[in-house]
């Protein structure tokens, strides 16, 4: 599967042909660092001064490299496909090899960083419960009404939220029954076949 690069992207990466390979290696290192920790615009200024070009050009060059690496890692393209995709840019043989090496070295790490970007629903953290019996209220005395109060602790990307729920014992039993049925589904033939095939 080949990466299709837009005209703008090719233009941005075109800057890399005008500098020597040591600088491209440096840009590659900066690009991976940005993927790990986030961008730092001051680095663009420093590099622009040293190479005597505007910082915009540097920024586009580094961003172009970053995009090339993330797209390649996302689609998990093979070496040959990566080389063919880069060939389109018309870089020198040495530059192509450098880019390929950069891709292969950092592919696994970039994939794990991209994996963390997927949306997550709040997940279960812990549960507290309490059983009460309502004996009387302002309107009615001599009652017996049991109720279960549940505090559900949820965790989403490090934020803790809580949900407070209250139910009577009959609904709670029904809830338990439904959850046990759901667990029981794992033991049916249909689910077993799928799990076996994934493994």
């Amino acid at each position: 599967m080949l990466l299709v690069l837009s005209e703008e992207h090719k233009e941005h990466l075109g800057f890399l042909t005008q500098v020597d390979s040591a600088v491209v290696g440096e840009f590659g290192r900066i690009a991976v660092e940005f993927l790990r920790k986030g961008t730092n615009p001051k680095i663009y200024e420093g590099a622009a001064r040293k190479l005597n070009v505007s910082s915009d050009v540097i920024q586009h060059g580094v961003e172009g490299l970053t995009y090339l690496l993330t797209e390649g890692s996302k689609l998990m393209i093979s070496e040959i496909d990566f080389q063919d995709s880069v060939l389109v840019l018309g870089f020198s043989e040495e530059l192509n090899k450098l880019l390929l090496q950069l891709y292969l070295d950092n592919r696994k790490e970039i994939r794990s960083i991209l994996g963390e970007l997927a949306p997550k629903l709040p997940s279960y953290h812990s549960l507290e419960w309490r059983l009460d019996v309502q004996l009387a209220s302002r309107s009615l005395r001599q009652q017996i009404k049991p109720a279960v109060t549940i505090k559900l602790h949820l965790d989403q990307n490090g934020d803790q939220t809580t949900k407070i729920l209250q139910t009577d014992p009959a609904t709670l039993l029904h809830l338990i029954q439904q959850l046990e049925q759901a667990l029981g589904e794992m033991k049916t033939n249909h689910c077993r076949r799928i799990v076996r095939n994934i493994k």
Binding site: E128, L135, A136, R138, R141, K151, T162, I164
Partner: protein
């Protein structure tokens, strides 16, 4: 096999597995470690260094030390939760395979601290909010834009509520007229009388 200290349910597998780890420490050291774990369960913090020193003779790895603390926390808090007396706990632990001196030592520590432990567990039970304090003020309205001679008393009430989760204090203020306040007081007195008959 149903165990009372597990709430008349089966003993969890991991507890069974770690009983043999407990047997590796001498019973005297086990009693001292129990003391530390009981302090932790009551919220006084745990001295991990001391436990490391006590288990160093048995040449425990860090995983074993953590497993020991976990299984002792489970046994002691679960026994307190289900109000198991120390003799039954001792016989059940011996059924699980814990040597007699170890079981007796553990149960003696448990017996000493059973009531304070149950009290601290009771305070940690689920509660939604607490009423922290009440302050009040009685004013007399002399006149208003509607009527020149009003002459009515007014009560200002401020409740400070402590939120269960975050421990933050939230003030809640309201103004009550004389009749409404009489009704409020009468209803609260009835509720108080009912609470007295129950305790």
């Amino acid at each position: 096999m149903r165990f009372r200290f597990c709430g008349d349910l089966d003993c969890p597998d991991w507890v069974l597995a770690e009983i043999s780890t407990l047997a590796k420490i001498s019973s005297v050291k086990l009693k001292l470690i129990c003391g530390q774990v009981l302090k932790d369960l009551q919220g006084e913090g745990i001295d991990y260094e001391k436990i490391l020193k006590l288990t160093s003779d048995a040449k425990f790895e860090s995983g074993d030390v953590k497993a020991t603390i976990a299984v002792l926390s489970f046994i002691l808090s679960s026994a307190a939760k289900h109000s198991v007396d120390s003799d039954s706990l001792s016989s059940e632990l011996q059924q699980l395979g814990l040597p007699k001196e170890h079981a007796t030592g553990l149960c003696r520590s448990y017996e000493e601290k059973q009531s304070p432990l149950q009290d601290s567990l009771r305070t940690r039970s689920l509660r939604l909010n607490h009423l922290d304090s009440v302050s009040w003020r009685v004013d007399q309205t002399l006149s208003s834009s509607e009527l020149q001679q009003v002459n009515e008393p007014l009560v200002h009430l401020k409740f400070t509520v402590r939120d269960g989760d975050r421990g933050m204090m939230e003030p809640f203020a309201m103004t009550v007229s004389a009749e409404k306040f009489r009704v409020l007081l009468a209803e609260l007195r009835q509720a108080h009388a009912m609470m007295k008959t129950l305790s």
